[in-house]
Structure formats: structure tokens, C-alpha cells
């Protein structure tokens, strides 16, 4: 029996959602630990800390988005499932890798930057704006990898 290409396509979708999700979870976790420490001193900073903690959360969203795009493309959400060859399935899987890998690693890196930024606002609350921009610099690469994944997926003809 021939291996169905759907297996690879779903693996790609799962990798995008799973790995990028792990990246965000670790990143948000790192930022949250530092945030909790800052709030023991000054609970009034909750709003700013939460904002910074949320920043590394976007990789998970991008991963979900890419994975969802694959599912739509495969017609698994309403509509008729599209038959996928092994080659097409593998193409889809590889197209998912940019956001999967970069999402994982940039989420963690962004979490560390967000943690440092939380440390910054602990001492200089008036610099919240700048503190938000620094983690956003890391996120650039997650956005670019999402872009790559979307363009790759879009170029695969089923």
C-alpha cells in the first residue's frame, strides 16, 4: 500500500503548531517568572508586565496560523478533502519548517529579551515604550519565517 501524502502534510501542520507553540510557551514562561518577581516589589506594574509577557506569545499564533492554513488547503475543514500525493505531502511539510523552527527558537530568545525588558521597567517605568520595542526586534524573524511559510504553501499546487 502506498503511503498517503496526507501523513506528511499533517506532520508539517503539527510541527508548525507544536514547535512554535513550545517556543512561545517557554518564552512567555521565562518572561512571566521575571514578571512575578518584579510584582512582588510593585504589584501596580501588572499592566506593563502583562504586556511584555504577552509579546513572545505571537510565535504560537503564527504556528497555529500556518498549521491551520495547511488544514484549509487540504480541505479538512468543511469541504471535500483533497487527495495528496507523497511528493505534495512532503512539500507541505517542508514549507511548514520555517515557522516551526524559527518559531521555537525565536520564541525562547524573545522571552529572554522580554524578561530583561521587564527588569528595565522595574527600575525605569517611564521607559515602557522602549522596553516593548526591544523584544519586537526579535519577533521580526518569526514574522519573516511566517511569511516564508505562507509563500511556500501558497506556491504548492494541489
Amino acid at each position: 500500500m502506498l503511503l498517503d501524502g496526507l501523513v506528511f502534510a499533517l506532520l508539517g501542520s503539527a510541527l508548525a503548531i507544536g514547535l512554535a507553540g513550545i517556543g512561545s510557551a517557554v518564552g512567555v514562561g521565562i518572561a512571566g517568572q521575571v514578571g512575578a518577581g518584579v510584582m512582588t516589589e510593585d504589584p501596580g506594574k501588572f499592566g506593563q508586565v502583562l504586556l511584555l509577557q504577552a509579546l513572545p506569545g505571537t510565535q504560537g499564533i503564527y504556528g497555529l496560523l500556518a498549521g491551520f492554513w495547511v488544514l484549509i488547503k487540504l480541505g479538512l475543514f468543511g469541504g471535500t478533502p483533497v487527495p495528496v500525493t507523497v511528493a505534495q505531502g512532503m512539500q507541505i511539510m517542508f514549507a511548514c519548517l520555517p515557522i516551526a523552527i524559527v518559531g521555537l527558537l525565536s520564541g525562547i530568545a524573545q522571552g529572554k529579551t522580554a524578561a530583561a525588558s521587564i527588569g528595565l521597567i522595574a527600575r525605569r517605568p517611564e521607559e515602557t515604550g522602549k522596553a516593548i520595542i526591544l523584544p519586537a526586534m526579535v519577533e521580526t524573524y518569526a514574522v519573516l519565517s511566517l511569511l516564508a511559510t505562507i509563500l511556500l504553501l501558497n506556491s504548492i499546487k494541489l
Binding site: 499592566g47 504586556l51 504577552a54 509579546l55 506569545g57 505571537t58 499564533i61 503564527y62 497555529l64 496560523l65 491551520f68 492554513w69 484549509i72 475543514f77 468543511g78 515604550g129 522602549k130 516593548i132 520595542i133 519586537a136 526586534m137 519577533e139 521580526t140 514574522v143 519573516l144 511566517l146 511569511l147 505562507i150 509563500l151 501558497n154
Partner: protein
């Protein structure tokens, strides 16, 4: 000129008038008091009495803090973030004569009593805990200790050691007696009475088996049970007493208004005292100098005239190199985006204010990143209506308005890309098909089925912004009379980048074909010819000219960075589609499935709105800072802070 022009003024007046003039200046709020640079105080600085005001202020703060902790009517969550200001007339504010001392003393004494009760309660709790170990002991605790011939002690030992203890004691004599009662866990309580002559033996035995007599934390009366009961009664009394004190403390909330008013009054007074240190005196005169907006000069002079004529006003333009405070002055629409310039850092006085340049770009970028009609509508409503409800200060209101305008842009972009809560409006019931077709008629291009045009549009926007940045830089250099640099660097690159675009465009539009190549080669040669002008050796001139073309890579990187606009815009609509899809999935299950489906869709959409708005703000701001500002902007100014009332709670009308 979006930066207000400033005047350096010095008011020289008779010393008699000093207090009057200062009060007037504080009321006007147009002058930032600052000693002229290069002036130094000779001898000692005039001693200024701020300690008294500082103490008063800290006592008032203590009272307000006390109120906050013990008040019964806690402010709502929203109010704690955006407290409503207290509106008072100027007369009421200036004639504030609230004597806070009785309130302060009462609060401090209440706090002391409450603390005392808390300490006592903690101690009693510890005693209860201690006594609970001996609750089966029927012997009054005052019997412990010594009589003329005996000594009685309590031991708490493990059950298995008890037989051991008794046999050891028996080996040494019989002048003792003990009785055992249950305690907690595997322990027992041993009440032991021994004759004085036997005490040395007792100690030996205790040492051998490793037991020490129980020490009471204080003298108790009656059996442990009775003592515990008495402590419980005492604790209830204390709790009632504390409740009474708390009620009393809550009553002090009625002084809230007076205290807040007094707080701002004294904070303003302290501000005035501090500024007095920046004022120069001679024996007969006083010199107050600082910065005024040119447009306020008239007002300042007119107001001073009302005080008589024992003063002179000198004014001059700022000189290059002086650090002049910055007051941004933008149109009512552009002003909403000033917060972005402030976040990065204000320009210095001799620079341009970048706000008018970034405002249209930020507006558009935010719209593309959020890119959904319904999300935009929610954000616009929130941004424009919330400040009215919450009565927030000016800065916060402008921030909300900026978000509101971002929402407006998002509505426009969403209409063009056909994103109304993602594709939700394509799946409306039949009865609403008119809405669906209206939506479709507005759609220009759907980036989900055809992503490339939107990506190219984003990159083109980036190119436009980079070119605008270069052009602003050109104008700036030109005005500084650096004509060579303006033409060769800024204009040269501007033309070269434009030529590249024209060249790429010529593959699509035949009209451009004849110009494209000559334009590109010409501008490239211009850069090669000019970029090496610093080098002396003619070979090096040409080489570094050619090498400079490599700089196109950094511009390319800048432009590619704008692809995020497309990616973020797509991301918010796809998550919205995901929300609808999941909603339908859950909604198709029986019974209350529709409710669960609705909740799931709502939850996802709210989450998406929050995260996408955050992303839209952060990334649109980043594009201004990293890609746009680097072309022309230099910050380093400090905000103009005129001497005025320092209010935290009060809004003077």
C-alpha cells in the same frame, strides 16, 4: 514649524514682589524656570525651607494611603487604572486651608492600635497552638513548679520511651510520682512530681533519655483546657475590638476630598519652594529667568503689568548650542501620534519634529497590520469613546485617539481586503445575503487567495517611506548649507533607489522602457563618482565609489522589513477565520452546542483582537524607529515643563 519657538526671558524685579510674581507665574504656567547657563551662584545658595512642606506632604500621603487600605468602598477595577480627577475651582484650590494634623494623628493612632491588636492576636494564636498539645492534662498549670519539698514538671516524650523512663527512675529511688496523659501523635504527656532530694537523680535520668521539661511561654491559670478557653474568649474580644477600629478607620474616607486637595496644594507649594532655589537675588532685586514659548510672551507681559511696574523683562532668541526645552506643536490630527515621537525621544530644538512625517505612515501601517473591518470598528469605538467616559488626562486621551485612528485605518484596509471578522460575512444566513454581496462589492483584492499583490504593496509602501526619509534628510542637510552632502549623498541615493524601482517597473510597463536603463546607469555612475570623494588617491576614489553601491543591500533590507505588514495583516484575518471555523465546528453539536460554538468564536476573536492590536502597534512603531528614523532623525531634546501647579488628584478649572 512643529516645534514651538522659544524665548529666553529674565524678569528682574524688586525683592518685595518676589512672592507675588512667583504665584502669578505658577498660575500662568508658561515659564520654565531655569538659571541661565554659565551663571553660578556666588557664595552660599539661599537656604530654602522645604523640610516643613515635605513633612506635611508625607503626612498627607500617609493619610491617603491609610484611607486606601481601610476604606470599605473599594474603587472599581477601571477606576483604579483611570482615577477620576477631582474638579475644583481655582479659588478653592488656592485657598486650601484643610488642617490635616488631627486626621493624621487619628489615623496614626488607629493604625498603632490595629497593629497592637494584630501582634497580640498572633501571640495568642501561638499560645493556643502550644496548649493544644496538653489538652488532656487535667492538672491546673499553676501547680507546676516548686513547693517546699517537691518540684513538678511536664515532659512530652514518645510513648515507647515512657517505660524506659519509669524503670530508670525506679533504679535510683522512689521519691517521685508520675502520671501519663495522651498528647498528639505518638507522644504522651508525663506529669512528674519529685522530692527535692531526688532532683539530681531526675536530671541525670532526663539527660540519659534525652528529654527536657516543657517550658511554659507564660504563666497560665487552670487546666490547659480552661486556659485555652480563656484565650479564645480574649481573642474574640480582640476581634470585636478590631472590627470596631476598622469601622472607625473606614469613616475617615470622608476626608478623602480634603486630603487630595491638600495633597496637590502642598505638592504645588513644594514645587514653588524648589524653584526658588533657581532664582538669583541681589540685595534689592530678584532675577527669575527661564524659557517661554514665543506665543506666550504677550500673555506673560500683560499679566506682569497687573502687578505694578517694579519689574523689567528681558527677552532674546535662543542661541545655537543652548539646550532649549522642546514643546511639540502639531495639528489636531497629527498630535495624536506625538506619543510615538516621545517614546523614541524628543528632537532637539534645532531639529525637525518627525511626527508629521510618521503620522500618515503609522496610520496606514496600523491599518494594514490589523486589517479587519469589525476589529477596526471595535478599536475605533473604544479609542474615541473611552476617554470621554473615563475622563483621562490629555496624554492618555491622545493615546486612545491614536488607537481609534488605527481602528479607522483598519476598517478601510479591511474593506479593501474583504476581511470582516475574517470570512465570517461570507457565511451569513440567506436572509442577510445583501450584506455579503455589499461586502464583496467593496473587496479590491483578497490576500488569502492571492497573496502576492498585497506583499508587493507592503514592500512598495516601505520603499516610499525609505525615500521620504532620504528626502527629509536631503532637505535637512540643504537647510544646514551642507549642499555637497545633500546632493551627493541624500539626493544621489534617492535617485538611485528610484532608478532601481523604475527599472523593475519597466519589465511591466513598456512606457518606462526607454528611460529605465539610462536612468539606472546614470545614477549609479553619479554615486560611484561622488561617494569616494573623501579619498585622496584617484584609484581609491573610484574603488570606494564602486564599493559604496554595496550600500544598496542595507536599503534592500529596510524595504524587505516592511513585508511584516502583509504577514501581520494576513495573520489577523486567518485567526478570525479559524475562530469562525471552530465556532461552527462546536456549534454543530446538539443541545447547547450553538452556545459553546458562539463562546469559542467570541473567545478566539477577543484574543485575536488584543494580540493583533498589540502587534500592529509594536511593529508599526518599530518600522518608524528602525527603518524610517535612521534616515534623518536625531533625538536628544527634553520636554518643556513650565512652572505650574503640581496636581495628581485635582483638576483646577
Amino acid at each position: 514649524m512643529p516645534i514651538s519657538s522659544m524665548q529666553r526671558v529674565s524678569i528682574v524685579a524688586h525683592r518685595r514682589k518676589e512672592a507675588e510674581i512667583l504665584a502669578l507665574l505658577q498660575d500662568l504656567g508658561v515659564l520654565e524656570i531655569a538659571v541661565e547657563e554659565g551663571f553660578a551662584f556666588e557664595g552660599e545658595k539661599p537656604p530654602v525651607a522645604t523640610e516643613e512642606v515635605e513633612r506635611t506632604l508625607s503626612e498627607i500621603r500617609y493619610c491617603l494611603d491609610f484611607l486606601e487600605r481601610y476604606r470599605r468602598d473599594k474603587p472599581s477595577f477601571l477606576e483604579s487604572f483611570f482615577p477620576k480627577p477631582l474638579e475644583v475651582t481655582k479659588e478653592e484650590f488656592l485657598q486650601c486651608c484643610f488642617n490635616h494634623s488631627p486626621v493624621y494623628r487619628a489615623c496614626a493612632s488607629l493604625e498603632e492600635q490595629l497593629n497592637g491588636i494584630r501582634t497580640t492576636l498572633n501571640r495568642l494564636m501561638a499560645h493556643l497552638e502550644f496548649l493544644s498539645r496538653f489538652e488532656h492534662l487535667p492538672i491546673p498549670l499553676e501547680n507546676l513548679g516548686e513547693t517546699r519539698y517537691t518540684r513538678s514538671i511536664l515532659l512530652e516524650i514518645p510513648l515507647e520511651k515512657k517505660a524506659h523512663l519509669e524503670s530508670k527512675l525506679r533504679e535510683r529511688g522512689l521519691l517521685w510520682f508520675c502520671e501519663t496523659f495522651p498528647s498528639r501523635g505518638r507522644n504522651v504527656v508525663v506529669f512528674l512530681v519529685a522530692h527535692r532530694d531526688f532532683l539530681p537523680h531526675l536530671e541525670e535520668v532526663l539527660q540519659e533519655i534525652g528529654a527536657t521539661p516543657v517550658v511554659l511561654p507564660q504563666a497560665f491559670e487552670g487546666t490547659p483546657k480552661e486556659a485555652s478557653e480563656r484565650i479564645r474568649v480574649r481573642m474574640e474580644e480582640l476581634a470585636r475590638e478590631r472590627e470596631k477600629l476598622l469601622e472607625k478607620a473606614a469613616l475617615y474616607a470622608r476626608f478623602e476630598r480634603d486630603l487630595k486637595l491638600a495633597h496637590d496644594y502642598y505638592a504645588s507649594l513644594l514645587e514653588r519652594r524648589r524653584k526658588e532655589q533657581e532664582i538669583l537675588h541681589t540685595r534689592e532685586t530678584v532675577v527669575i529667568s527661564g524659557w517661554v514659548r514665543a506665543e506666550d510672551m504677550e500673555k506673560l507681559e500683560q499679566s506682569l503689568k497687573a502687578l505694578g511696574n517694579e519689574w523689567v523683562l528681558f527677552a532674546r532668541d535662543p542661541q545655537p548650542g543652548e539646550s532649549v526645552p522642546i514643546d511639540l506643536r502639531n495639528g489636531s490630527w497629527t498630535k495624536n501620534f506625538e506619543v510615538l515621537t516621545r517614546l523614541y525621544g524628543l528632537p532637539n530644538y534645532w531639529e525637525l519634529d518627525p511626527t508629521p512625517f510618521l503620522a500618515p505612515f503609522f496610520f496606514l501601517f496600523f491599518g494594514i497590520c490589523l486589517g479587519d473591518v469589525i476589529y477596526g470598528l471595535i478599536l475605533a469605538l473604544l479609542g474615541f469613546l473611552a476617554p470621554g467616559f473615563l475622563k483621562v488626562p490629555d496624554g492618555t486621551r491622545r493615546f486612545f485617539h491614536m488607537l481609534g485612528w488605527g481602528g479607522v485605518a483598519s476598517i478601510l484596509v479591511g474593506m479593501g481586503t474583504g476581511s470582516w471578522l475574517g470570512d465570517t460575512f461570507d457565511h451569513l444566513p440567506k436572509a442577510l445575503s445583501a450584506v455579503t454581496s455589499f461586502k464583496r462589492s467593496l473587496t479590491v483584492i483578497d490576500p488569502i487567495t492571492n497573496p502576492l499583490p498585497m506583499l508587493i504593496f507592503s514592500l512598495l509602501l516601505g520603499l516610499v517611506q525609505v525615500l521620504v526619509g532620504l528626502f527629509v534628510s536631503f532637505v535637512k542637510e540643504w537647510r544646514r548649507r551642507n549642499y555637497a552632502s545633500a546632493i551627493m549623498d541624500q539626493l544621489g541615493w534617492f535617485a538611485f533607489l528610484l532608478a532601481i524601482v523604475v527599472y523593475i517597473g519597466s519589465t511591466q510597463f513598456a512606457l518606462l522602457k526607454p528611460f529605465a536603463l539610462p536612468f539606472l546607469v546614470g545614477t549609479a555612475l553619479f554615486l560611484v563618482a561622488t561617494q569616494g570623494r573623501q579619498k585622496k588617491n584617484p584609484v581609491m576614489k573610484v574603488l570606494s565609489g564602486i564599493l559604496s553601491l554595496y550600500g544598496v543591500i542595507s536599503y534592500l533590507g529596510d524595504v524587505l522589513s516592511y513585508s511584516r505588514l502583509f504577514a501581520l495583516g494576513l495573520s489577523s484575518s486567518i485567526i478570525a477565520i479559524l475562530a469562525r471555523t471552530l465556532g461552527v465546528l462546536f456549534g454543530s453539536s446538539p443541545y447547547i452546542g450553538w452556545l459553546i460554538g458562539l463562546l469559542v468564536a467570541l473567545l478566539f476573536n477577543v484574543f485575536n483582537l488584543v494580540m493583533s492590536s498589540l502587534g500592529a502597534f509594536v511593529h508599526s512603531a518599530r518600522l518608524q524607529y528602525v527603518e524610517f528614523f535612521t534616515k534623518f532623525y536625531e533625538n536628544g531634546g527634553k520636554e518643556f515643563q513650565p512652572f505650574s501647579y503640581r496636581t495628581k488628584y485635582v483638576k483646577v478649572q
